[in-house]
């Protein structure tokens, strides 16, 4: 039984499962397969997740290469056009300025592009920090249990009991205002939910018969963790972290909107919305364009996370 091509997936896969003992016949499942290869096959069938992934890659490429072309085309994202303010201020979207211009005559598109740099950087770095802390805490709590578990999980509960944005604001106020501190603050405060997810994943795997089986075979702790516990608990973290990037972007936007994040004239999607709110009636594109950027990117991360969850679930029928 070769992997059936995508369109006939379900039926052929079901046939593979009921495939009776020792039949097989022409079956050649002997072709080498890897877990990630299989996951990729399943992910490819999820159109929505693929669209989301393409969008994320597109936004990332645009943000990374912006210095090479964006300013020549659309002008500087930060410098206010003081000389020709009357002529270039608050222009509606046009061929020359696809997203329109803001009150100081800066092109909105170029600001959205440079804003993507900040949003994606913060999303990725903050999630990286949360994930590393969360993984360590979750693993400690689950593996050692007892007093470790109690302390770490109660600490997580306390963190989760505070209003999140308020907590981030306080931390930024304490650390001092800078882009670095924004993602450090978001990252540090994001660990409890990741720790919880990872802890419960490890606990359920740790109690499973196949871990007992490995112990009965004489496997070392290191082997049990590396071969059994980690591969079976890490999928939930990959999924959770992907979705977390979206929420970190959202948090940065909120913080910047409230004036505690990225400082003007640097562009950030949150700041642009804040700048635009005064012109909501007269020049709505000031808010709509960065708003759409946030919406589409956060949605893309959520959809990709969803797709990954299905793709990484080994019990889902094959691609």
């Amino acid at each position: 039984m070769k992997y059936p091509v995508s369109t006939q997936g379900a039926g052929a896969a079901a046939a593979a499962v009921v495939d009776a003992t020792k039949s097989g016949g022409s079956a050649s499942g002997a072709a080498s397969r890897t877990l990630w290869g299989d996951a990729w096959k399943r992910l490819r069938q999820n159109k929505l997740a693929i669209v989301a992934a393409i969008w994320i890659i597109f936004v990332a490429l645009v943000a990374i290469t912006a210095d090479l072309w964006a300013q020549q085309w659309l002008g500087s994202p930060t410098a206010a056009d003081t000389t020709a303010m009357a002529t270039s201020s608050l222009l509606p979207p046009s061929l020359e300025h696809p997203f329109g211009t803001d009150v100081t005559g800066r092109d909105i598109l170029v600001r959205v592009i440079y804003g993507a740099r900040i949003s994606l950087t913060i999303g990725l770095l903050a999630t990286a920090i949360s994930t590393v802390i969360g993984l360590v805490m979750g693993a400690l709590a689950a593996y050692y249990g007892g007093i470790f578990d109690t302390i770490i999980m109660r600490a997580a509960d306390i963190f989760l009991a505070f209003p999140y944005v308020l907590f981030v604001l306080c931390l930024i106020a304490a650390l001092g205002q800078s882009i670095t501190n924004v993602f450090v603050a978001i990252g540090i405060l994001g660990w409890p939910s990741i720790a919880r997810v990872f802890r419960s994943a490890i606990l359920s795997v740790k109690e499973s018969d196949y871990v007992d089986a490995a112990r009965a075979m004489g496997a070392s702790d290191a082997r049990i963790i590396a071969r059994h516990i980690f591969p079976n608990s890490v999928a939930s973290i990959v999924v959770y972290a992907t979705m977390n990037i979206g929420s970190a972007i959202l948090t940065e936007a909120s913080i910047s909107f409230l004036g505690m994040g990225v400082q003007p004239p640097n562009p950030s999607w949150g700041i642009m919305i804040q700048d635009g709110q005064a012109y909501l009636m007269t020049a709505p594109w000031l808010m709509i364009m960065p708003g759409l950027a946030i919406l589409s990117t956060v949605l893309a991360f959520t959809l990709l996370g969803d797709g990954l969850r299905d793709a990484l679930d080994v019990k889902m029928k094959d691609a």
Binding site: T21, A30, V314
Partner: protein, 342 residues
């Protein structure tokens, strides 16, 4: 089944006791000393190449006995000797050697295979852990094992979820035999399977035993399953062993009232016999192992219980050669009725 009951036993269990704290969490055992007495003073021996059946209803401690012998949990008291060596006193090196000679087959074929490993990885894992052969040799052995247990060796790169329950249990069996162990603890290996598949798997276990001379500790809650495979059978009730004998005697002349009631519940495939025979129905549920009854643990449900049963624990004594029973009346009033056709 060539069982060699003379000479030194392969496995010797002496007064094995396992208790768990009755409360979970931070304060467990701080304020009260309530324990679940899962296994209480159980002793038996298993000889090389024989099948020792261990029967009892759920919660009677039979699985805990198996897990404690395997040292998946440590015993509260008592000793386990494997090839004459005390398992509890083994150092890391000796323990690893023990793991090589003693394997486990699990009840749930869905939970006992790592869903993220291929069949080849699963079956070769014991060999990998114990550094047996090169990678190519191991894969060759895996193919042979898959063939022996009746699976297609071509399926080596498939994942467990692509197999049915019976096939998965065959994979578990192949894994247990990978190191050619001397003893395999089978913890209800067929109770999660369809009846038609049960017979296939039992026959496979028998075949493999004839081929490799492995001894089994066969744990089950079903006397008719144990009957098919065991040389000797022990019956457990609420953490205690109540009767132990060779299987034929146990099925034809059960001494303990609990064994008799269990046997009376086994359906007989002959409707005429089934109609006439009397069924001993026990009243009530098994008592809680947190607070087991005084004296004989079975006296609260025993149809022949007398005053002494609530006061004194009966000894586990020999009533006939090789036949042990823990009942005050086992010798005085052996009932010895059984309607099981052999």
């Amino acid at each position: 089944m060539a069982s060699n009951t003379t000479g030194a036993p392969l496995l010797k269990v002496e007064h094995l006791t396992k208790e768990f704290p009755a409360e979970a969490g931070m304060l467990a055992g701080r304020f009260s000393k309530r324990v679940v007495s899962a296994v209480n003073d159980v002793s038996f021996e298993i000889h090389a190449g024989e099948t020792f059946g261990l029967v009892g209803e759920s919660g009677c401690g039979k699985s805990t006995t198996g897990r404690t012998i395997m040292r998946l949990t440590n015993p509260t008291a008592g000793k386990v000797f494997f090839e004459g060596k005390d398992v509890a006193k083994m150092n890391k090196h000796e323990l690893k050697d023990l793991r090589r000679k003693m394997q486990f087959i699990f009840q749930d074929p869905y939970a006992s295979l790592n869903p993220r490993m291929t069949i080849g990885e699963i079956v070769s894992e014991p060999m990998t852990i114990h550094n047996v052969g090169t990678k190519e040799e191991r894969m060759k052995t895996v193919r042979e094992l898959l063939d022996v247990v009746g699976l297609n060796p071509e399926h080596i790169n498939r994942y467990p979820h692509e197999f049915s329950g019976g096939q998965r249990q065959r994979i578990g069996i192949a894994r247990a035999f990978a190191l050619k162990p001397k003893l395999i603890i089978c913890d209800e290996p067929v109770s999660a399977l369809d009846v038609s598949i049960q017979a296939q798997v039992l026959n496979l276990l028998k075949e493999l035993q004839n081929k490799y001379g492995t001894a089994y500790l066969f744990i089950a809650h079903d006397l008719s399953v144990v009957q098919h495979i065991s040389d000797r059978v022990a019956v457990m009730y609420l953490g205690k062993m109540v009767e132990l004998s060779d299987w034929k005697t146990l099925y034809t002349e059960p001494h303990h009232p609990y064994t008799q009631s269990l046997l009376s519940a086994v359906p007989v495939p002959d409707p005429d016999v089934q109609k006439t025979r009397t069924r001993i129905i026990l009243a009530g549920d098994p008592p809680s192992p947190i607070d087991p009854p005084s004296g004989c643990r079975f006296h609260t449900r025993c149809p022949i219980a007398k005053e002494i049963c609530g006061k004194e624990q009966p000894d586990f004594k020999q009533v006939a050669p090789g036949h042990f029973c823990a009942c005050h009346f086992a010798e005085k009033f052996p009932i010895k009725t059984s309607s099981i056709e052999l």
